[in-house]
């Protein structure tokens, strides 16, 4: 128990600190690196909760793909981050006010939180038979059966996202010289070479 509590405070503490650094670091590359650190720590929190599958997804997807993409964008795009930041401090008081109101409300909700009398009963409805198997195994059991609809529609959403990315970025540019192997190979000497008789002394 002590170990768990220690691990929780360690992960949560580093998570909060690195999240703070993400928004305050001057160098955007440092921000992204702190973001990766915070992802790792939240993955640690998920492991503590017993959700090891989500923890692994967190590391693979967020750290492996999203954060690396961020890093690419930050390094490739020619954006002056100091200019972007100019004037951002003006919004701090308003942000603090809204943030503290939200925090107050959340504390108010969660400290008086009560479950409905039938919550346990409701929770038991979909599950059952998941004792003693791991997260990934349990998800595998339901994702193609009970939740097949959500799974398929998620596929459609990703499909639309892909179409959207192509629609918004793909341009057919004219004047680009590409190698067209078909054309090269089907070219015959008779199509392009012209033999002309030239009488001496007249020129072409």
């Amino acid at each position: 128990m002590i170990v768990q509590a220690f691990a929780f405070y360690l992960f949560a503490g580093i998570l909060l600190l690195s999240a703070l650094m993400v928004v305050t670091a001057r160098n955007p590359v440092h921000s992204v690196l702190f973001l990766i650190l915070s992802f790792f720590n939240s993955a640690g929190l998920f492991v503590l909760l017993g959700a090891e599958f989500i923890a692994m997804i967190m590391v693979i997807v967020y750290v492996g793909a999203v954060a690396v993409l961020f890093l690419f964008v930050v390094m490739m795009l020619d954006i002056s981050f100091t200019d972007l930041r100019k004037g951002a401090m003006n919004y701090v008081p308003l942000g603090v006010v809204i943030g503290s109101i939200l925090l107050f409300e959340l504390v108010a909700i969660y400290s008086y939180w009560q479950f409905s009398p039938s919550t346990e009963n409701n929770l038991a409805l979909p599950g059952g038979g998941f004792e003693g198997i791991g997260n990934a195994h349990a998800i595998g059991l339901v994702i193609y059966t009970k939740y097949v609809f959500a799974f398929q529609v998620a596929g459609l959403i990703l499909f639309v996202a892909m179409i959207g990315a192509i629609v918004l970025t793909h341009r057919t540019r004219s004047g680009v010289r590409k190698q067209k192997i078909e054309e090269q190979q089907s070219r015959k000497a008779s199509d392009v070479v012209e033999v002309k008789k030239i009488t001496p002394g007249t020129g072409v």
Binding site: W113, T119, N122, L123, L125, A150, L156, V160
Partner: protein, 479 residues
């Protein structure tokens, strides 16, 4: 676990999704010259989907492990959505060419948005609701940015996307609170759990308010309407027409199902929220609309105001209220389709003009167009022989019957104020000095939409009870 897949009930959605994928493949091989053919094929697929819906049994049935429900409410709303999607596809066929944004992804994205809307309407589970909503919204974000050469289009899409993502976040947060309290995402289970409560805990109310806020954003009702004018103005006009016609109906139907199925027993909680939202929308739509000079922005404020009327019917909380909302939305959708057909005709020398003053003297230059627009505007402002009057009448009637006099009075007053800007359009068309001619050529699709909407708003008075009885049939499946 496999007991209730019942996948056959999803035939219309599956059909459209598969056709969209086929069209995409076809478009990839044929290139952008196939756009027209694909738009027509998309219209045809929606017609087939409507036929499938008409052929299926409308008794309440559940599909895919209670994720979705098919009943007369969802079927009728799906038919209305299909009419709206077909109308907006028809309106934009020519427009895409005129603006040189004729790309084959357009019909494909519209079809996916259509699938999303139809799934939203059928949702019987918070998860299904979210998935349908996101499928629809994501397609709409892309469509808003469809004209890449226009800075405004990009700006509109960015605003829409960021605010839409924020509202999705609120939706998910609200859902998590509801799930935390009830322990289930299923609408029926939530309904049963909530109906046996003695006291309503604050967490539940907060969750419900978050969900409502996110959905009210989608129908652009007042405190969450900021995106509407900018997106309407910035998006290409053909796509604005689509935004104004179809997604509103779907989102409103979603709200109706959510309020009357899972949250029915905490009605006195959500009524307060909607009361406020409705009055705000009525006032914003009426007063801010007066100051507009751009006709697309004007219609944005008009839609904000009209959502206020629709919510009045919901606050009534009765079966008559819900059916009045359905009739109101159908009429509003058809009037909007007609009005946007006229707006799309506003072109000079091949360039679209968008100011209200550009309409001046239209009655001299193109009398038929001017008279149709006049009829549409009279109908929008709710002047008797036209359909728009009946839409408002049914809604106010439902509100008065359930004792919400104040709301009905504010609604009537707001509609008087809003009548100013509708009638001003008529005044500009008929009594102002003629401006330069518009391009005369109007394509067949626009003519069809114009005349069908005119036919509907004039013909409604002869058969109002027929439409009302269909809406009552839809509403009855929720009670």
């Amino acid at each position: 676990m496999m007991e209730t897949l019942n996948i056959i009930l999803l035939m219309p959605e599956i059909f459209i999704a598969v056709m969209a994928m086929v069209f995409l493949i076809f478009g990839v091989f044929q290139g952008n010259r196939s756009t027209d053919a694909l738009c027509r094929a998309a219209v045809f697929s929606f017609v087939i989907a409507a036929y499938i819906i008409l052929q299926t049994n409308w008794d309440t049935q559940f599909a895919l492990n209670n994720m979705l429900v098919v009943d007369s409410f969802s079927s009728i709303i799906k038919l209305i959505i299909i009419i709206g999607v077909i109308a907006s596809l028809g309106l934009s066929v020519k427009y895409l060419h005129q603006e040189r944004i004729s790309r084959f992804e357009y019909p494909v994205l519209i079809m996916f948005a259509g699938v999303g809307m139809m799934l939203m309407v059928s949702a019987n589970n918070m998860l299904a609701l979210y998935m349908g909503l996101e499928l629809q919204s994501l397609s709409l974000y892309v469509l808003a940015a469809f004209n890449r050469n226009s800075l405004k289009s990009g700006e509109a899409a960015a605003k829409y996307f960021i605010l839409g993502a924020l509202s999705s976040g609120m939706l998910l947060f609200g859902m998590s609170l509801i799930y935390g309290f009830v322990g289930s995402l299923d609408f029926m289970t939530i309904q049963n759990t909530l109906s046996s409560l003695e006291a309503i805990p604050p967490g539940l109310t907060v969750g419900m308010v978050f969900i409502l806020a996110a959905l009210v954003f989608k129908i652009s009702a007042a405190p969450f309407h900021m995106w509407t004018p900018d997106v309407y103005q910035g998006a290409p006009t053909g796509i604005t027409a689509f935004f104004a016609i179809a997604p509103k109906v779907a989102a409103l139907a979603l709200i109706i199902r959510l309020l009357y199925v899972p949250f029915v027993s905490i009605a006195d909680q959500w009524m307060q929220v909607l009361y406020f939202v409705s009055i705000m929308s009525l006032l914003f739509g009426a007063f801010v609309g007066i100051a507009q000079s751009n006709i697309k922005r004007l219609f944005a404020y008009s839609s904000i105001g009209n959502m206020g009327y629709a919510l009045i019917g919901l606050i009534a909380g009765t079966e008559a209220g819900v059916s009045s909302v359905i009739v109101f939305m159908l009429i509003y959708m058809i009037m909007t389709a007609g009005s946007f057909a006229v707006i799309l005709c506003m072109r000079r020398d091949g360039i679209a003009v968008e100011n209200i003053s550009d309409l001046s003297g239209l009655s001299k230059n193109q009398p038929i167009l001017a008279y149709i627009m006049a009829a549409l505007m009279f109908s929008m402002s709710g002047i008797p022989p036209f359909a728009g009057f009946f839409g408002k009448l049914f809604v106010f009637n439902a509100a008065v019957d359930s004792g919400h006099y104040l709301l009905a009075i504010i609604g009537v007053l707001a509609s008087v104020v809003a009548a100013f800007y509708y009638l001003r359009i008529i005044k500009i068309m008929f009594f102002d000095k003629p401006a330069d001619l518009f391009d005369k050529e109007i394509d067949v699709e626009k003519r069809i939409v114009l005349f069908l909407s005119l036919f509907f708003i004039i013909g409604f008075i002869f058969r109002p009870l027929f439409v009302l009885s269909i809406a009552q049939n839809a509403a009855s499946s929720l009670f």
